[in-house]
Amino acid sequence: MSSPQAVGDLVSQPYKYGFVTDIETEKIAKGLSEDVVRLISSKKEEPAFLLEFRLRAYRQWLQMREPDWAALGYPPIDYQDVIYYAAPKQQAKKASLDEVDPKLLETFDKLGIPLSEQKRLSNVAVDAVFDSVSIATTYKEKLAEHGVIFCSISEAVKEHPELIERYLGTVVPSNDNYFAALNSAVFSDGSFVFIPKGVECPMELSTYFRINSGDTGQFERTLIVAEEGASVSYLEGCTAPMFDTNQLHAAVVELVALDDAAIKYSTVQNWYAGDEHGVGGIYNFVTKRGQCRGDRSKISWTQVETGSAITWKYPSCVLQGADSVGEFYSVALTNNRQQADTGTKMIHVGPRSRSTIVSKGISAGHSANSYRGLVQIGPKAVGARNYSQCDSMLIGDQAAANTYPYIRSQQPQASVEHEASTCRISEDQLFYLQSRGIGFEEAVSMMVSGFCRDVFNQLPMEFAAEADKLLALKLEGSVG
């Protein structure tokens, strides 16, 4: 299968999730203004504090400039040409799945996320978000027995406004950056997770984001709070139909871990990446940050980024508590004309805080893949430690890989280690494996999963194999 023609055939493998669901959608007019912000808030029947939060963010956003420091190139985004709210037409969220539009259930079935009682995953609770709204959350009752709250953020605003008011915007302030401000002004839906003191969440939690409308932006907001001694593992997945226009996606995720709490946040991102000429695809501008507020708390990010035309994303940890732990495990794969600028920030504040960064970038086709990371050790972080490892793999000779590690230490008694490497899947390596009877595609996939093993080992079991397959699928035909 190593002939160029065979390789070409494989490249044109269609994006599996590119279909559009034909469903009546309620959309507001294009454009962004204070009135639009008020309209979104009123559609969601929000309390006054949240409207204030949105309006403040909107006004801050107006004063800000879109960042241009990332190694990304794209035409200017017209923020007035985006629809900021779209929802499938149905009344308020249904109490039972039986009342949900069957077309929506079918959509999630097709995506491999069955929601109905009979078919749903047995050990994973799922919140399914379609365009701007959450349509269903499974296992809510079972989780409630343990005191765990898992619901859409809109629902949480209504049912637990005190928790939202206490935590929303405390990790990522609304003026944190341009895209976070935009999200804070117009965010539509997302998930809320609250694990009370001492509770170990009895199952995996997962949110599945689906963009369906072609001209709509998606601005989801996720907030996860783990109280003292609580722990949770959460996974998000995302897909979108194929359109030849670019779509804006600007999400904010905030994590809060109190004393001895642990949050594991995994992402398998597979937004539509555009075609081989770079037409279409999602612009993915995401702010993800976790705050280890408590002593001995732990936040671990694992991401497998395979989709989107543009990825701008730096899941970070603020390590405030003494002996707190931050981790970042990342595989970012770019192919064709995709561009990714991704990495992490580990901000060490508390004494003896520790962080680990393992980043694996794979660039194929004409893509560009950059790791950008900051390790900052504050003056009080006595005995803080960091270990970073950034590896890049190049496939073909047209792809680019960059590494931008920043280290700032104000603490002489801290240790920071950084290792980096670049490798290439060479024709000789492939030939070697082939000459032992291993097929071309399997050889590529063996080498890529070997390269990513340190990261895949961090994914929840159910998803590690999935991620392996996804990568193999994305890379099919990119070598040759």
Binding site: S3, E427, Y432, G437, M446, C452
Partner: protein
Amino acid sequence: MIRPDAPVLLEIRDLEARVEDKAILKGVNLTVRAGEIHAVMGRNGSGKSTLSKVLAGHPAYTVTAGSVTYRGDNLLELDPEQRARIGVFLGFQYPVEIPGVSNLEFLRVATNARRAEQGHEELDTFAFEDLVRERLQVVQMDPAFLERSVNEGFSGGEKKRNEILQMALLDPLVAILDETDSGLDIDALRIVAGGVNQLANADNATLLITHYQRLLDAITPDYVHVMAAGRILRTGGKELALELEQRGYDWVDQELAALEAAQTRTPAEVA
């Protein structure tokens, strides 16, 4: 062991091949029967390594004329992995390192690919471990090498032992060993050659590509072929290698020059 009635495993006829725009093989003829050990000798650039790569199906080499059959079937139309599965093995001069891919897992996948072709059942992790531990004896290799990435950080000798280990697991009918002796000290050479001798039997054949006589002191060939300028210039028994050792390759150059002169003469002159 030469048996005139033994089945032909490999038949190379008038084989010509190029890499990029450069013609390297210019008409190679060679017949290999079961039970035989052939040595192909020659200077650097004579085309002997190219011959091994072409037989294994390296994509950088293009066959421009001639044929190669393996047990009567056209070998050249097969992908490299198919050639390996049906029993053609290439031991590399410079085995590549493959970081992140576990040597044990690699050996298991390769062995199972060959076994599937042979109609044997697939070996699971445990069954395979038993097999690999037994085969490690052939090259006196430390099991610790199984836990590492393929060839990563191996010394030259360890890489060559890993090659022979693969040969022991894949059980090929035609093993082509490209400069297996290069970069080996005396002890490693003895171990590697011992492995090759153990694996040779009446049903398979070995093609040793080598520069020096010293490998042939340890593995006795049935035939020695001398390659120059992309052709096999002369074929003889094991004594030909000794002659080459004594007289050096200059003698080959003279013979080649004479041959080329003969070919450029016009038909009238020949008459």
